[in-house]
Amino acid sequence: MESSSLMSEGISLMLFGMGFVFVFLTLLVIVTSLMSKIIIKYEKSAGVLPEDGVPSPSTFIPHHETNAPLQAEADDKTLISVLTAAVHKYRSRHK
C-alpha cells in the first residue's frame, strides 16, 4: 500500500471507529435505561425474582446425586433452616 493511501485509510478508520464506538455505546445507554425503567415499573406490580433464583430439577443431570452436597451446603446456612416452612410453602405454590 502506498504510504499516503495508508495514512488516509488510517485516518478514516480512526474517525469512523471512534465514532461507531460512541454511537454504539450511546445506543446501549439508551436501551439499557429504557430496559431498567420498564423492569422497575413491571416489578412494582409483579415483585422481584427470588434472590438466589430457583434452580430446578433436571432430567439431564440427575439431581438425586448432587442433592447431598447441596444439602450439606444448605445446612451451613443456619438462617435458612429457620425458614424451611416458608420456603416449602413458596415452592409448592411456584412449581
Binding site: E9, M14, G17, M18, F20, L25, T26, L28, T32, L49
Partner: protein, 377 residues
C-alpha cells in the same frame, strides 16, 4: 565416539543461536516479573515459560509437530481459547454498577480513544518509513490500548498473527503496570476539588435487569456489528449463565476449572510465538512503545470525558473513575479507588469505578469488531 559428537551437535549449547539465548533470558525475565513483582502472574507465568520452551534450540516445541505449536493451532488459530476465556470473564462480571449508572458507558467509550490514536500512530510511523506496519498490524497494535488480554490475542490472531507474541506480552505487561502508569496521568488531569467529588450512592439493581442486560447487549451487537458477535456473544453467554442462576453448575465450572485450563494452554500457546526471529525485532520495540502510548491516551481520555460530562450534567462524576474505562478489570477500578482515598479518606470510589471498568470491556470488544469489519470484512 561418533555418538558423542552427534549428541554434542544435537545439544542445545551447540545449536544455540544468540537470538534464542536472548529470548530464553526474556522468558526468564517475564517469569521473574510475574513471580516476584506480581505482573499478571496467571498469564505471564505460562507465557514466560512457553517462551523459554519455544526457544530451546533443536527441541522444536514451537514448530510443526511440537506440543506448543499444537496448542497454538488448536486453541488460538481456531479462535477458541480467547473466546472461551471471554465466556469465563463474562461468568465473573457483575454489571450491577454499570446498570445502576449507565452513563458510565460513555467513560468506557472515551477510553477507547487510545486504541484509535495508536492505530493512527502506527500508520504514521509506517508512512514515514520508520516501521513497516500494514493497516492490519496497526489495528492489532492499537487494541493493546483496550487493556484486555483476550481481545488483543483474538484480534492479533485474526489480523497480525506474526505480531501476536509481542502484542500479548505488551498487553499483559501494561495491564500489570496499571498502578504505575495511570496515577500520574490522573493526577495531572484533575484538580484536587475534582478528585474530592463524592458520588451519589448507587441504586439497587434488580436481578431481572441483570438477566436481561446480556441479552440486550447481544441483540444490539447482532443488529449493528456482527463482527463483534463472537467476542461479545461468548461474553454475554457467560454473563447470562452467571445471572440466570438456573445453570449454576455450568457457571461454576466455567469460571473455575474451564477458565483455568484454557488459561494455561493459552499462555503456553502465546509463548510459542516468542521465537527469536519474530520477537527480536525493532518492530517489538515499536509495539511496546505504541502500546504504552495507547494505554496512556486511553487513561487520559477517560478522565477528560468525565470532566466533559460534568460540564453538561448536574449529577457530578468523580473524574478519577474515568481512567477505569480502559478496563484492566478490576485493577484500574482499584487505582481509581486508591487515588480517591488519597485525597479524601472517606471517598470510596471502587463500586462507582466498576461501571466504566466493565464498560471498557464492551468498548474494546466493539472497537475490535470494527477493526475486523474494516480490514478483514
Amino acid at each position: 565416539m561418533d555418538q558423542i559428537i552427534r549428541l554434542w551437535h544435537n545439544s542445545g549449547l551447540y545449536q544455540m543461536e544468540p537470538g534464542q539465548a536472548v529470548m530464553i533470558a526474556i522468558g526468564m525475565l517475564l517469569l521473574y516479573l510475574a513471580i516476584n513483582k506480581n505482573f499478571e502472574p496467571l498469564l505471564l507465568v505460562p507465557i514466560g515459560f512457553g517462551g523459554v520452551l519455544a526457544n530451546i534450540p533443536g527441541a522444536g516445541l514451537a514448530e510443526h509437530g511440537g506440543i506448543l505449536h499444537l496448542f497454538y493451532t488448536v486453541g488460538i488459530e481456531s479462535g477458541a481459547f480467547p473466546l472461551i476465556i471471554f465466556m469465563g470473564v463474562g461468568a465473573m462480571t457483575d454489571f450491577g454498577p454499570l446498570l445502576s449508572n449507565p452513563r458510565t458507558l460513555f467513560l468506557g467509550a472515551a477510553a477507547q480513544f487510545g486504541i484509535f490514536v495508536t492505530l493512527m500512530g502506527a500508520v504514521a510511523l509506517s508512512a514515514f518509513g520508520v516501521f513497516d506496519f500494514s493497516l492490519a498490524d496497526a489495528a492489532a497494535i492499537g487494541i493493546i490500548g483496550g487493556a484486555d488480554g483476550p481481545t488483543s490475542i483474538y484480534v492479533a490472531s485474526k489480523l497480525a498473527p506474526d505480531l501476536l507474541g509481542a502484542i500479548a506480552v505488551a498487553s499483559y505487561s501494561y495491564m500489570a503496570l496499571v498502578p504505575l502508569i495511570q496515577p500520574p496521568i490522573m493526577r495531572a488531569l484533575t484538580t484536587e476539588s475534582e478528585r474530592k467529588i463524592k458520588m451519589v450512592q448507587q441504586r439497587h439493581v434488580s436481578h431481572r435487569e441483570k438477566i436481561v442486560f446480556p441479552l440486550l447487549l447481544l441483540l444490539l451487537v447482532a443488529f449493528l456489528l456482527p463482527d463483534a458477535a463472537p467476542l461479545l456473544g461468548m461474553f454475554c453467554f457467560g454473563n447470562l449463565m452467571k445471572e440466570c442462576a438456573v445453570v449454576d453448575r455450568l457457571r461454576n465450572t466455567t469460571h473455575n476449572s474451564l477458565i483455568n485450563t484454557v488459561t494455561i494452554f493459552l499462555g503456553l500457546a502465546v509463548g510459542s510465538k516468542l521465537s527469536a526471529d519474530k520477537f527480536l525485532d525493532l518492530t517489538t520495540l515499536g509495539i511496546l512503545l505504541l502500546g504504552m502510548i495507547a494505554f496512556s491516551i486511553g487513561t487520559a481520555s477517560g478522565v477528560i470525558m468525565a470532566k466533559v460530562m460534568n460540564k453538561i450534567s448536574t449529577n457530578k462524576i468523580n473524574p478519577l473513575i474515568g481512567s477505569a474505562g480502559v478496563s484492566a478489570v478490576p485493577m484500574a477500578a482499584r487505582v481509581s479507588n486508591k487515588l480517591g482515598l488519597e485525597t479524601d479518606p472517606h471517598n470510596f470510589l471502587l463500586m462507582h469505578a466498576m461501571g466504566p471498568n466493565v464498560a471498557g470491556v464492551i468498548g474494546s470488544a466493539i472497537a475490535a469488531g470494527i477493526m475486523i469489519n474494516y480490514i478483514a470484512g
